[in-house]
Symmetry: C2
Subunit: 225 residues, 2 copies
């Protein structure tokens, strides 16, 4: 085996975002709204996951959705077709949402009585993890076809998420994915994380996720009261 040369390149991480994130958080808290920042690679299934969550909860809870995309409004239209208020943020090339964008979206949403705000970030396992929006919880999806080695390559995303959903679990028979190795890698980075295998195609595992979400919404209302 030949020796591998390694070059380290340091990059500044923009930090000015945090003041505005705190403002967003206070506004959400005053309103009793639970805000969830949903992150993943492109195509891991964020939009399907949001649509499935909405369909199962919209009779009992008041929901709005913010869709972050570089271009287009396909996803916001899908949400809107189900009668849920949707705001599309187009970042115009930007690879992540930031607190300023959430502030703008909160300004156009009707927040009155809103219990749950689902924020779909731009599809990217890197930069979204660095930008606090003011959300209460971070949820990431890792889909099976992406492989079980991703916690080693994108450690910040895994170490700052409250829930890691292992999506497309229905594809397990057709892929090499070591779920135990994946669990060990994730909990090694983040011992308190909740790991939930789900399939938005078959519905498997979604009840576990919804139970967690219901309990967080109740807790948030307690914060307001």
């Amino acid at each position: 085996m030949m020796s591998v040369k390694i070059i380290k390149v340091m990059e500044d991480v923009l930090g000015a975002n945090d003041v505005l994130a705190r403002k967003n958080r206070e506004r959400l808290d005053r309103n009793g709204t639970l805000a969830i920042n949903i992150m993943s690679s492109p195509g891991a299934g964020k939009t399907s996951f949001i649509l499935q969550t909405m369909a199962r909860l919209k009779q009992e809870i008041s929901i709005a959705v913010i869709e972050g995309d570089i271009a287009c409004s396909i996803d916001a239209e899908k949400v809107s077709e189900q009668g849920i208020p949707a705001v599309q943020i187009n970042t115009g090339g930007g690879c992540h949402l930031d607190a300023n964008m959430l502030d703008k979206a909160l300004n156009v949403l009707d927040l009155k009585g809103l219990e749950l705000l689902l924020i779909e970030n731009v599809g990217n396992l890197v930069c979204p993890a660095e930008f606090n929006l003011g959300e209460h919880k971070r949820v990431m999806l890792l889909s099976l076809p992406e492989g079980d080695d991703k916690p080693h390559k994108y450690p910040l995303m895994f170490s700052t998420s409250d829930v890691v959903l292992v999506n497309k679990i229905d594809l397990l028979p057709y892929l090499h994915f070591d779920l135990d190795a994946f669990r060990r890698a994730v909990t090694g980075l983040n011992p308190d994380v909740k790991i939930m295998p789900v399939s938005c195609t078959t519905g498997e595992g979604l009840e576990t996720w919804l139970d967690w979400l219901r309990s967080e919404i109740s807790r948030r209302k307690g914060v307001k009261a």
Copy 2:
């Protein structure tokens, strides 16, 4: 259907990178080396694709690989185990390679007689497309599980690639992926692009890719001579 509100956020794209990219390109040209920038989402199969390409070509062509990752050197080690020179660039949080990083990597590589340089970018469908490294050709992988709608959401990546490889084509029976709609969307953005369905698991389609690569290597040698 409710109406969707759209917020446009403009971002500056750093452009200072281009001078250094031109320098890299001239250096590669003087040396007669073909440099390929390989981009995709996390887990779309870049590393497997590079390993398969290397295994099939290393007897006939001299190859080196540059691996771009935020953290870790797993991929460079896999390359190195096959006896191919590998340089790992760790971006330390950065979500893409840039021309400065390639310059540093070229400084530590032995370029003498090198015919093919494969550069694996950070797993990300957004920012890598904005940063010219000085490469001759851009190749992107879109894996089937990511879905056929990705050209609409990440248009820059699709419109600036010379080759789009549709990877994990062996999973077609288990997924909803409309290959014709995908082709139409990609060629709508980029009429000259070559689209090649491949599987790094079964080997399907790899000969088409290798034939393209061989002809580009020959042409590059012609440029030098």
